[in-house]
Amino acid sequence: MSRQPEPIFTANERDILQEVMNIGFGKASADLAEVIDIYVVLSVPEVALLDASELAGYIGGEIRDFERISVVEQSFMGRFQGVALLIFPSEAGRKLISILGQEDEQTALHSVALLERETLMEVGNILIGACVGKLAELLDDQIAYSPPRVLVEDDPRETVTRDMFNPDSTAIVMRTLFSFENENISGYLFLITRNESIAWMVSALHSFMERYE
């Protein structure tokens, strides 16, 4: 009789990670609301454990309602390491320019496309930095970031994970859907951790809970 492999995460550990992610994105939305006059409507975050080869299909399925997308991609490196993907429908960049009030002063100097990229990069920097930073703080880690970059894609399924992960590895995917109230903009934040982080993360999640023993 064959033995089932040990699950990498127990249901309890997944619940802890979901709560930590919830706190992380709460901090991120508050930071964004402080910088621009916007109210971020949050959803319940989800945690999924996937083979890296399943990632593109999973994320493509989540964002299937977006015809074209803009992606802010930023890697983070610590004991907690991986990549953050902030994904908007492609028209969000232009709407965000208007919310940030940049269109009048700067459009003359920049092309709209460049301004869109810069705006998305700024929003991505705030949301990803605050969320990943808070997660790292709660799990007692220190993080360095790569510079964010903006990708614009015609086919959402092409976006993800071309060379990000070894296809044989396992990834933890944390997903939050959010929207900006009264602005008709919604997007997804995915945090995808590398295989190498999983053992550390399991231990860090238990340490987090031990504070409440």
């Binding site: 309890n12 619940d15 802890i16 979901q18 709560e19 919830n22 706190i23 992380g24 994105f25 709460g26 901090k27 939305s29 508050a30 609301a33 402080e34 109210y39 971020v40 949050l42 959803s43 319940v44 709660l138 809970m209 409440y212 023993e213």
Partner: protein
């Protein structure tokens, strides 16, 4: 037996953390609910003294649940326990009738302070009756 607490949160971990942050020298009767719909049913059946309410939940969220519970019991003492720390969120829940907001991740000191404020609110409410 001390006060009855209703803890409303879709995360079992968040409920566990809150229970572990309660003052160890006091006794509470604890009720739990995983969303706002269940919370209203439990509230109507059990009439807890103090309700701790998360906001981001499936089925019926915490914003609506505060309204529903306060409609049933205008004197309900509700402490919002949330990771959503936007200023507008604070105003929204206070406008809806919450007593205060407890920020996640919570500490034992913050929970103790919140319970003291809730106790004052309960005594004020009892004096008015």
């Amino acid at each position: 037996m001390g006060r009855t607490l209703l803890i409303v949160d879709d995360s079992p971990i968040a409920r566990k953390i809150l229970i572990r942050c309660l003052p160890p020298d006091e006794t509470f009767r604890i009720l739990e609910a995983g969303n706002g719909e269940i919370a209203l049913k439990v509230y109507q059946a059990e009439r807890p003294d103090i309700t701790f309410m998360d906001l981001t939940m499936p089925v019926v969220d915490g914003f609506q649940s505060i309204v529903d519970i306060r409609r049933f019991d205008p004197e309900a003492v509700i402490i919002v326990a949330t990771a959503d720390i936007q200023t507008k969120t604070l105003f929204r829940v206070l406008d809806a009738g919450a007593l205060m907001v407890l920020k996640k991740p919570m500490s034992r000191e913050a929970v103790k302070d919140a319970l003291e404020k809730a106790e004052e609110a309960l005594k004020d409410s009892e004096r008015r009756r």
